[in-house]
Every structure is written in C-alpha cells, then in structure tokens.
C-alpha cells in the first residue's frame, strides 16, 4: 500500500478547488501521482481514486487513454523524440537509429542501467526547428547526432 504525502494531498485538494467537480481533477491528480510515485502503478491508481472519490476503473481508463501517463516504470530520464512528418523529412529516423546503436535505446525501451527511456512522440510543436525532442521537461531542437551526445551527457 502506497499513500500520498501530506503535502501532496494538500496539493491535490488545491487542484480540486479549481473545478466544479472532483472528477475534473482526475487528469491533474494522475500527473501528481506520476510525479510522486514515478509511474502509475495499480496502487497509485487506488490512491488517486480514494482521494478524489472517482471509481478506480475510471481512473485507469483515463490513465491508459493518454500517451503521457506512464503505466510502467521508466528510466530516470525520458527522451521524447518526435518522428512526425516535419521531423521525419529532416532526419528524425536517423536519430532513432543513432539512439539504438549508440545508447542501446529502443523506441518504448529503457537502457539496461535505467538511465534513459525512449518514447517516440507525435509532433511536439517544434516543427520549425526540427528534428526536436524533449528530455523530461526540456526542449531540444535542431538535433544532430553530435548534439544529442552533448545533451544526454547532462542527464546522469
């Protein structure tokens, strides 16, 4: 059994006040749970569901519908590389191969040391500076193999 810290419970209660219903606080509460527990484990769903009074089946349905909720543990740093058309025509596929060959990082996979996970993204709104990726919450644009090396060096 995992539980939220008192600070987090307060945070979710504050979020709850922004909406006319508890249910509306579900998406933000799942984000908070993900931040607190690292991923949305079955226990995390129970904790969110108890706190908001939303049925667990609903919480899970929502948590598995959206691409940005993590339903399995991921690496310490999440590399989110866009491969949609604007990035693709400027070489994003080559970068996917590069991450695989140099870092052993497969799409949807995690490195053996748990340092990185790779998630292939559908357009992250950086098309004018393609190819682009997010590492955790940080944007990186105009990517090349060399630049990716420099960026990943910062994330231990």
């Amino acid at each position: 059994m995992i539980t939220f810290s008192q600070t987090t419970i307060k945070e979710i209660e504050e979020i709850r006040r922004k909406y006319p219903t508890s249910r509306a606080a579900l998406l933000p509460a799942l984000y908070v749970a993900q931040r607190e527990f690292g991923w949305l484990s079955p226990e995390a769903y129970t904790a969110v569901s108890d706190l908001l009074g939303v049925p667990e089946a609903i919480a899970r349905g929502v948590g598995t519908f959206y691409a940005m909720y993590r339903n399995k543990p991921l690496g310490r740093h999440v590399v989110q590389l866009c491969t949609n058309v604007s990035c693709m025509i400027l070489g994003a596929e080559r970068l996917v191969d590069f991450l695989k060959n140099k870092y052993g990082l497969e799409p949807g996979g995690t490195t053996a040391d748990g340092r990185f996970s790779l998630v292939i993204m559908e357009c992250i709104g950086a098309c004018g500076t393609a190819p682009a990726m997010l590492v955790n919450d940080d944007f990186y644009e105009n990517l090349t193999e060399k630049y990716i090396d420099e960026i990943l060096e910062k994330y231990r």
């Binding site: 998406l27 959206y66 919450d137």
Partner: protein
C-alpha cells in the same frame, strides 16, 4: 503590418506583466469593461473574426449562441491543445506573450457572461504551463482577474488544465470530456457546446490565436480590424512553416497572404537550392498540394477553392528528395495512433490504411492496392464521429490524387523510386 499577436516577442522579458503593460497591454480590457457585453460581440462581428483553430467558424456567431442561453454559469475554454502535426503557431503566444491571451480571454468572458475560464494546454508544452501559471498569478495580483476586475464588478477566474498527449482533444467536445476528467472521446452533436458544454453548461471553445485577437479588436475597433488582410476573413494570421525552406519558423502576416509568397519571399525558398515537390498547407490533415498549385491566398475562404484548406496555417514544405508514399504512411501511422477508438470507420479504417501504405512503402505492395486504399478511404469519409477520420481518409485521397504515378511505381518496382 507590424506584429500584433507576436508583438515584442524578441524582448526576453515579453512574458512579464510589466513589459506587456509598457507596450499598451490591458488597454483593450479597460476599454471593453466600459462597454456593454453585447456591444463587444457586435465589434467582433464587425471585425469578421473567424476561429483560428482550423475550422474558421465565425466567432461572434458562436458567442451569440452561448450568451443567449439562459443556463448559468457559462464557461470559456481556450483550446491550447495545439497538436496538428506541423503546427507551432500558438506556442510563441503561450510562451512569450501569455498576457495577450489572458487579456483576450477576460474580454471574451465578460462579453459572454462567462465567469470561469480554462486554458486546455497540451501536455507536451511543460514550459508554457509554468509561464501561463506565473502570468495568471500576476494578473490576479494586479486585479486583472478575480471577483472584481479593475474595480468594475466583473468576475472572471482562469486556470490552466494540462492535457496528457491526445491529439483528439483538439476537437472541442473531446476537449470538454478531457477537462471533465474523462477519456478524450468526442460527443455527438447536437447538443452543441454553446448550449451543453463543460459541466453541461453553455461553453465557448476558442483557439489561443483567436482569443489573442480580442485586445487589438477592442483597441482599434471592428471596422478598422476588418481592413487587415482578406476581406472575407480579415485579421492577422500566424503562419508556421517547417520542412525544406531556407528560413522555417513563425510569421505573422495579413490573412490571405499567398502560399507562394510565404514560401518564396518570407521563408527564402527551398533550402539548398532543391526543387519543391509538395506542400501541406495547413497541418497534416489538410490536402497536399503539388508545386503548380501554390498560387493561392492562405485563408479560410480561398483555400478550399484551390483544393485544400487553411487548417491551422501550418505549412510543411517538401523538396524532391521526399517520398510521397513514406510521408503518407507516416501521416496514417499518426492517425491510427490518435484515433480515439470510439467509432468503427475511423478506428479500423486508419489501421487498414496504415497497413496497406506500409506494405507499398516496403516494396511489398500488390496490384490493386491503390484502388483498395481509395475504397477504404471512401468508406470513411463522412461516416466518422468527428473530423479525425475524415482527415485521415482525405490525406490518402489527396496524396494519391496528386502523386498516383509515384504510388504505382512503388508497387511495380517493389521498391522506392525516389532519388534513384
């Protein structure tokens, strides 16, 4: 035309309230709060403002419906779920000019009689979330949001609601479902959100760029605004250009700027002296155009006459090294991934289109596959719950319409002929 929506974005502190005020910010709100709500809607009508999210619906009409509904409270939702591939026009407003959006929303809220607003922000813009939250806090502190805005007895509260990575939530009823804490699956219409929207109350959903026009309309008046750009759908427009041009990026230009001018003059033409092969003019769902079809004014009225749509104004430019089958396949992979699964033609159709395109691209296409693609697409168009399915099917139809020989060659050669 100087920048209106992207005013001052080169200033590194442009997101700060004091900087926004220095350049005349919140004067539009001050003026609006001295007017009757109906007079504001009339100005917006005179301005001829159309929604910038893609559909181009007249804003004043949507507002009139919602304000006429007696149910209370009403909600104003800002669609900041910018997810149409190729689109990055709202991001500079959100990250660099957040107060123009907050001001625009407050004016709109007052005009509509909406006391609560939410900015539905896509999950992929974490920086924008922090910037918006900070700007909202500043606005509350300066009495530009709250229960008694500028001492005029007007109430408007605003919060950011973060999406979680679902393209479908750009569709307004899916966005409302997602705001209410559900899967982003579109609702059947009618009832329309203007009558039964968020929390079953009258709700207006407008795009970031749309709402950001309000301060300027208030400042110069609807008639003067209507003189900017295309007479049929006036105003400034943020075009965002990606792909093989010399200077990709965002350009704020008068609505109706010709596509050729955008590519050749503003973006410096094709990068590295290559040859133009294809342009997707308004985000990936809009019909692709070949090089001889780009002499068209980029607005909601004229683009359909030239075989495409303005969409979000996201121009993706491709040179002759790009394989059309590959682009079409990648687009369908996207639609399959983003289909919400609610209706069968879209859920199944996007998967089959992706699969057939995949085998053609891999050199394993069969004779008859191209007609099969058209047959599947034809069975989707007009039969899906929301425009996602139509978009997916029309992408396939239009790539084949303009580039059929390239598809046929893939099947015949069992390989990609591009660049060989």
């Amino acid at each position: 035309m100087g920048n209106i929506l992207l005013k001052n974005i080169e200033n590194p502190n442009s997101a700060e309230l004091c900087e926004y005020r220095k350049s005349g910010g919140y004067a539009g709100l001050q003026k609006a709060l001295g007017m009757e709500p109906k007079a504001i809607i009339d100005e917006v009508k005179k301005a001829g403002l159309r929604g910038r999210g893609g559909a181009g619906f007249p804003v004043a009409m949507k507002w009139t419906f919602a304000s006429a509904d007696p149910k209370f409270p009403k909600y104003l939702l800002c669609n900041a779920d910018e997810g149409e591939p190729g689109t990055f026009k709202d991001r500079p407003i959100l990250e660099k000019n957040p107060h123009i959006l907050i001001e625009g929303m407050t004016i709109s809220g007052y005009a509509l009689g909406a006391e609560y607003g939410y900015i539905y922000l896509r999950g992929e813009y974490p920086a924008a979330k922090d910037i918006l939250n900070k700007a909202i806090k500043q606005a509350y502190e300066d009495n530009l949001l709250g229960d008694n805005i500028l001492g005029k007895g007007v109430k408007f509260h605003l919060a950011v609601h973060q999406g979680a990575g679902a393209y479908i939530c750009g569709e307004e009823t899916a966005l409302i479902e997602s705001l209410e804490g559900d899967k982003g699956q579109p609702r059947i219409k009618p009832p329309f959100p203007v009558n039964v929207g968020a929390f079953a109350k009258p709700t207006v959903v407008n795009n970031v760029e749309t709402l950001s026009n309000l301060p300027y309309i208030m400042e110069i008046g609807g008639e003067a605004y209507a003189k900017i750009g295309s007479p049929d759908c006036p105003g400034p427009k943020i075009y965002c250009i990606s792909g093989h041009v010399a200077r990709p990026g965002v350009y704020e230009l008068p609505m109706g700027t010709p596509l050729r001018e955008i590519i050749e003059t503003h973006c410096g033409g094709i990068k590295g002296g290559g040859r133009l092969k294809a342009v997707i003019p308004g985000g990936i769902s809009t019909p692709v155009l070949p090089p001889d079809k780009i002499d068209c004014p980029m607005d909601f009225v004229n683009m359909p006459k030239h075989g495409s749509m303005l969409g979000s104004g996201a121009v993706i430019v491709m040179d002759d090294t790009v394989c059309m089958v590959k682009v079409c396949h990648r687009a369908l992979k996207f639609f399959e991934h983003e289909s919400c699964g609610k209706c069968t033609p879209c859920r199944e159709g996007t998967g089959w289109l992706r699969s057939i395109l995949g085998r053609i691209e891999q050199g394993e296409g069969n004779e008859g596959d191209i007609d099969l693609l058209l047959s599947v697409a034809g069975n989707m168009i007009g039969k899906t719950f929301c425009p996602l399915g139509d978009g997916a099917a029309s992408v396939v139809q239009n790539f084949i319409k303009h580039f059929r020989p390239e598809f046929e060659e893939h099947v015949r050669l069992k390989a990609c002929p591009v660049g060989k």
